[in-house]
Amino acid sequence: MQVATFAVTHHRFLDPSGRTVQPLPAFANDPETLRELYRAMVLTRTFDTKAIALQRSSRIGTYPSSLGQEAVAVGLAAAMTADDVLLPSFREHGAQLWRGVTPTEMFLYWGGDERGSDFAVPREDFPNSVPIGSQAPHAVGVALAMKLRRQPRAAVCVFGDGATSKGDVAEAMNMAGNWRAPVVFVISNNRWAISVPRAAQTAAATLAQKAIAAGIPGDQVDGNDVIAVRHVVGEALHAARAGGGPRVVEALTYRLSDHTTADSAKRYRDQDAVAEAWKEEPIGRLRAYLTGHGAWSDDDECQLIDESTARIDRAAEQYFAMEPAPPSAVFEYLYAALPKALEGQRDEVVQGHHHG
């Protein structure tokens, strides 16, 4: 006797060549909205390019590029309101930029300076979570706080395909389901967890079906179609804010770069597959749609690239110009007030016993 049935649905509006496969959602009928998404994706890629260059010249540390995944980050951020809270992994540069984190702050963070996570805006967003999946329960806590306070807000938690294997992610989804917490889990499925391909991460046919274990809805979206990402995450957020509980959205994309600047993907993956994946990348796809509809020109493109480059270069200069934090910063934010027991240690650092 069948006692339960489930299905996972896949959503797409633009195919890889930028042609519509179904009527666009209402927001997409405004060309300026689409241009905004386009500009944000280009800015993200510009940031990535610069960050890699800065890493190569030792101005920042190890850096994870989001090349090819811009539609996921920008699409989900565009679906959020300022009052929502983002809990990213570490590859959502596009989402952070959209939400108002400055490229200077981001360089600061990747340069190894805690001040980079003290964003002026958005004050409630979480910093990057390096321990994979560990921010998923935080998102449930954030959402639960919103729910208990009866605020029409939601949390968005983003992590990769690899993260879906982690126990804390499963616990988080399950708890979110229990409490109908207003949280949307976005899986940025870029097909790789460092060297481990998606197929070796789990026997599950889709990652959206991780939701089924938690008794919550799970959808799949073409993660290289920024319209689809924005639409599906937007609907999920709308439902969540209205008390409809959590959802999982699996966004199918591809990590076109190395895992980080410390990685060399050639060791473990076939370059042909990467070349194939380039054909699906999100920026060209939206540009094709926009130019096809007369909403974007070569001039627009040149201007955008100039502006983006200038903005990111300026941010890098600002980053270079920052005064280094003083040694006392090592103890400054450890506790709200430094316990007496630690004053001696703080003084030792400040007095510079440490200069070996």
Partner: protein, 328 residues
């Protein structure tokens, strides 16, 4: 004023904090209608409702992580872990998030959570129910570890922990949850964190301890008194950061020290305390002694008594710190 046992005092402190501040909520396994397996949260759900006393699924990592999220949003979560033996799954959240959210964001996001768990042996419990591994937690930067040893301190320290703007692991000595009672004023007054409590003044030797071992240590001090040895007894109370100033001042006076804890010897906090004293020039006038659990798995009920530090071991250790002219 009311007669309270430790279990009552903890309950009263939570109720008081919840009444005073609606950001305070309680979550954990069976904390709702059941009132917790030790009845520590008994009645809270009736008083404050299911929105503020949340039963969770069995998911310790998740519980800790949810508490971090709640805290970052300005709530004041008190998360209960059913036994210290099941708290290990929260360490990842404690080290990687709770203890460093403030540091990482330069104070933009903070983590005012309390993680409560009963700990310690001596109640003939099942496997994994007798742990005393507070030292592992006290090594984590950015958190506090607090252990009360009397109803009044349980009340005052828990209120302090709840109001503290940083994460506190609050471990409850379950062997003495119901072992004694005293008058405790439910007046909302907190006791200071980061401070030792001198439970008994003395001139000849300092006994440093915490948690349930305060009982055996005080009894040993009484016996020592009858033998003409005047012992000072210190309840460390906050294990992270440790108020060494009070301990050093005491040992400077007595010259001798015995640290007593239930935790295994190696890597237990007795080592830290002894080391700090050994770093002070001219404080120690005899060798340090530690009376602790052994470097073994806590045995199951039938052999457990061989593990637990006893009064006679404390007495022996005190004598070993003494110059021979003092009567043994």
């Amino acid at each position: 004023m009311a007669e309270m046992r430790i279990v009552d005092a903890i309950n009263a402190a939570m109720a008081r904090a919840m009444a005073d501040d609606e950001r305070v909520i309680v979550l954990g396994e069976d904390v709702g209608i059941d009132g917790g397996v030790f009845r520590v949260t008994d009645g809270l759900i009736r008083k404050f409702g299911a929105d503020r006393v949340l039963d969770t699924p069995i998911a310790e990592t998740g519980i800790a992580g949810v508490a971090v999220g709640l805290a970052a949003q300005g709530m004041r979560p008190i998360a209960e872990i059913q036994f210290l033996g099941f708290l290990y799954a929260t360490i990842d959240q404690l080290v990687n998030h709770a203890g460093r959210l403030r540091t990482r964001t330069r104070g933009r996001l903070t983590c005012p959570l309390v993680l409560r768990a009963p700990y310690g042996g001596g109640i003939h419990a099942l496997e994994h129910h007798s742990e005393s591994t507070e030292a592992m937690l006290a090594h984590i930067p950015g958190v506090r570890v607090v252990i009360p040893s009397s109803p009044a301190r349980a009340y005052g320290l828990l209120l302090a922990a709840i109001r503290d703007p940083d994460p506190v692991v609050y471990l409850e000595p379950k062997r003495i949850y119901r072992a004694g009672h005293e008058e405790v004023a439910d007046d909302g007054a907190a006791l200071p964190l980061d401070t030792c409590f001198v439970l008994r003044e003395g001139r000849n030797v300092t006994l440093v301890t915490w948690g349930a071992m305060v009982v055996e240590t005080m009894m040993a001090a009484g016996l020592l008194a009858s033998q003409g040895i005047d012992a000072e007894v210190i309840d460390v109370a906050t294990l992270k950061p440790i108020d060494m100033a009070t301990i050093v001042a005491s040992v400077r006076k007595t010259g001798r020290v015995v640290v007593v804890h239930e935790a295994a010897l190696s890597g237990g906090l007795g080592g830290e305390i002894a080391a700090r004293l050994a770093e002070e020039d001219g404080v120690l006038r005899g060798p340090v002694r530690r009376v602790t659990g052994y470097d073994t798995v806590v045995p199951l009920a039938k052999l457990e008594r061989h593990y637990m530090p006893s009064i006679s071991r404390i007495m022996t250790a005190v004598r070993e710190t003494m110059p021979s002219e003092i009567p043994a």
